[in-house]
Assembly symmetry: C2
Homo-oligomer: 134 residues x 2
């Protein structure tokens, strides 16, 4: 069912410093920051030849990553995103197998303009998993 | 400098259950478990079209992931691995920029038979980063 790894997301406490680490220290191609008010984050996309790293920084109040950064002040790997062909079909299969879908279970439009869903980390080895229809 | 994302590693408390989650629930291609006594882990490779997920389970005493699983009993994303062309050149550049290389600073032979190094999470937004010459 799952296809490509779409991205890995890393929550960072200092977006400018993190951008510099990836652009200069690690020498990767880094894009300008992009505000995603619907998701409560500012995102910097790091382009690797086969996938992306997303550096996430809180935007506005009630950012979904604020709590994560409180618990992990230095930052940390926040989630991994796998692509699926049909997000509704994927969701229904996962629910039938007992996996928990976060939120109200309806896909939202993600940072790339595609429908996304998040799955409960407890059902996936402690890793927060995002599914993106792509 | 960094190239492809070689893999994401997820430490898991129950390798059989985690394998089933990836093979059956997520429908990915999963390989048989592989003991890596030099690294203190048993690894299951999950093949995605563009990269790999490695499920890590402790092997023997003093496994480097035992402490992680104590702190994260449900498991969790343990590290990310980026490919580099020349690991010694990469190491020297990173050290010159102030990044800390773990262990004695000399590459070890990793699970894929290539030289690898680990970088200090504090210097990379809380994410443990492995570099693999590939």
């Amino acid at each position: 069912m799952i296809g490509r790894l779409n991205h890995i997301a890393i929550a960072v406490p200092d977006l400018e410093a993190a951008t510099k680490t990836y652009a200069s220290t690690l020498g990767a191609k880094v894009n300008p920051p992009q505000d995603e008010p619907d998701h409560g984050v500012t995102v910097v996309f790091v382009e690797l030849p086969n996938t992306k790293v997303e550096l996430l920084y809180p935007l506005g109040e009630n950012s979904p990553i604020a709590g994560f950064l409180e618990k992990n002040p230095a930052g940390g790997i926040h989630h991994i995103c796998y692509e699926v062909d049909d997000i509704i079909e994927a969701r229904d299969k996962l629910k039938a197998e007992g996996a928990r879908v976060l939120g109200n279970g309806e896909p939202k439009i993600g940072a790339h303009g595609n429908p996304v869903l998040f799955l409960h980390p407890k059902d996936f080895n402690g890793a927060l998993v995002e599914l993106e229809q792509a």
